[in-house]
């Protein structure tokens, strides 16, 4: 028999919630406040010229510079140049990535052919391929669009491939038993199943696209945010350079917001 030794009794022992620290606490004001403090510190550092404004212009000066660029309209030329490159590269990469991903994910022969090619080319930094692309496609738009397309293609194709591999086999069985053939299964089961993975691929891809468009424009271009940043640096126009960086930050935030909205719209069954 198991006997327990009883300790002397206390009067009351109140049960505490041990998980209280796991509860999510939000500090919306702290986020805003700290952001403002950093901006103010930066403004002060530049105003009192603790750091020469040539190296670190004040936020207010950058803002003013941005405003004049906006008023004169020079900024739009650069933004549109970069955006159109991103857009084309992104569109080509997404459509190709989805098609190839489904093909190698669903059919064994394309998988056997495609997998080693992707495994071999994926690790090459895409910017290293740019000189080759310029050699092939010339110094114009085509080589820039191509390098972006290449960079976005890989995360897309890998995401889609993984998505197809993880489609619930029970849903495929259900569709088969309800009379679907293979083509219909791709359209009605595989595609909706992998939508979340496609969006994940797009979010990964847009970061890569921003990186590559700037890099490509720094190599050879006469317009674009990358070009603008590089020429500003050459001319020691630090404020203009900073405006370029801020535009890139805004573009990144904008695309993330856009994809989140699109995802909500296209995947209403995921709350």
């Amino acid at each position: 028999m198991i006997k327990e030794v009883h300790q002397p009794l206390v009067e009351k022992a109140i049960v505490q919630d041990k998980t209280y620290f796991l509860q999510v606490k939000e500090h919306p004001w702290l986020s805003l406040f700290s952001f403002m403090v950093i901006l103010l510190l930066w403004e002060g550092v530049s105003r009192f010229e603790w750091v020469p404004p040539l190296f670190l212009p004040a936020p207010s000066a950058i803002l003013l510079e941005g405003w004049t660029m906006l008023k004169t309209g020079v900024i739009f030329k650069h933004i549109f140049a970069s955006l159109s490159r991103i857009l084309w590269g992104f569109l080509i990469a997404c459509s190709l990535g989805v098609m190839v991903g489904i093909l190698i994910g669903f059919f064994s022969i394309p998988e056997a052919i495609g997998n080693p090619i992707i495994a071999a080319t994926f690790p090459i930094p895409k910017i290293a391929i740019l000189p080759l692309l310029i050699l092939w496609l010339g110094i114009g738009e085509a080589s820039k669009v191509a390098v972006i397309a290449l960079g976005v293609f890989f995360p897309m194709v890998i995401n889609v491939y993984t998505g197809v591999k993880n489609v619930d086999p029970l849903l495929i069985k259900a569709a088969l038993s309800l009379g679907s053939n293979r083509a219909r299964i791709i359209k009605k089961v595989i595609l909706p199943s992998i939508l979340p993975m496609i969006f994940a691929g797009m979010k990964l891809g847009i970061g890569i696209a921003l990186l590559l468009v700037v890099a490509a424009e720094m190599v050879a271009a006469d317009a674009g945010i990358g070009f603008m940043i590089l020429t500003a640096a050459d001319l020691m126009q630090t404020k203009k350079l900073m405006v370029g960086l801020i535009i890139l930050s805004f573009l990144g935030i904008f695309f993330n917001w856009l994809f989140q909205k699109l995802e909500r719209f296209f995947i209403p069954w995921k709350q």
């Binding site: 309800l178 069954w269 709350q271």
Partner: protein, 259 residues
């Protein structure tokens, strides 16, 4: 119409070449408008049998024959799966019309057929909900309506209520009994639950543990329609006890066996 399950055997061979005999010489038939339940201990190959009948798995030997089958485009079978297998991106209504879409039925007709089965299984008001917004019992109603909407020759149900809690499960058994009285669809029902088998079936096929062989086929001579009152009757309990005594040792061996 008659479905003959003609001496079906199934041997699985895995990558290392190891053979597992799942089914051995299963032979019985399902008559028109008959409710046949296959019951057996876990790992007796019940689901394997259902998948073979559904055309979702090939048998090693033997075949499934539909005698006197229709020649229209309607499918021979439709399956209600244990885990519902609803398309999460389709609303209740859209799930139910899936098979009709695949057969090219006109839109208005799809809608009419769907409405009929939505009413039959009691899903009115849930037409535009997504599966994740439904309870397990409601999900399985959708799955039943989706299968019935295709008007198959034989309805197949693979442990349809096993994923539900015990109370919902009992209620769904009554529901299915009621739905079946209204449709009298030929039905092959797989379960490990003996009470369920006796409550629902016209005949119960008792399978042994692996390799699954038919131990016995018992005709359940209980009056229809069957309702809650039945489960207290002596004859019902005798059937349950008779089947349990057949399976008891098998089930114990299955439990102690390594997976």
């Amino acid at each position: 119409m008659r479905v003959v399950i003609d001496h079906i055997s199934k041997i699985y061979i895995d990558r290392r070449g190891e053979r597992t005999e799942a089914l051995r010489d299963i032979h019985f038939s399902i008559e028109e408008n008959e409710f046949v339940v296959v019951v057996g201990p876990s790992g007796c190959g019940k689901s394997t049998l259902l998948n073979i009948v559904a055309g979702l798995l090939s048998s090693t030997s033997g075949q499934v024959i539909f005698e006197g089958a229709r020649t229209d485009s309607k499918p021979h079978t439709a399956v209600v799966f244990q885990d519902f297998a609803l398309f999460p991106w389709r609303t209740v209504l859209k799930n139910i019309v899936y098979g009709l879409e695949e057969r090219g039925v006109k839109k208005e007709e799809q809608f009419q057929i769907a409405q009929r089965y939505i009413a039959l299984v009691g899903l009115q008001g849930f037409e535009n909900k997504y599966p994740h917004q439904l309870s397990g019992g409601m999900k399985q109603r959708v799955s039943i309506a989706r299968a019935l909407a295709n008007d198959p020759l034989l309805l197949l149900m693979d442990e349809p209520f096993s994923a539900l809690d015990a109370q919902t499960r009992t209620l769904m058994q009554y529901e299915l009994s009621r739905i079946w009285e209204e449709t009298h669809k030929s039905l092959l029902y797989i379960t490990h639950n003996i009470q369920e088998a006796v409550f629902l079936g016209d005949r119960v096929v008792v399978l042994s543990r692996r390799p699954g062989t038919i131990l016995e086929i018992i005709r359940i001579e209980l009056p229809r329609p069957r309702g809650e009152h039945l489960t207290l009757e002596k004859k019902y309990l005798e059937y349950v006890d008779a089947i349990w005594s057949h399976i008891k040792n098998q089930a114990r061996e299955a439990m102690e066996e390594e997976v």
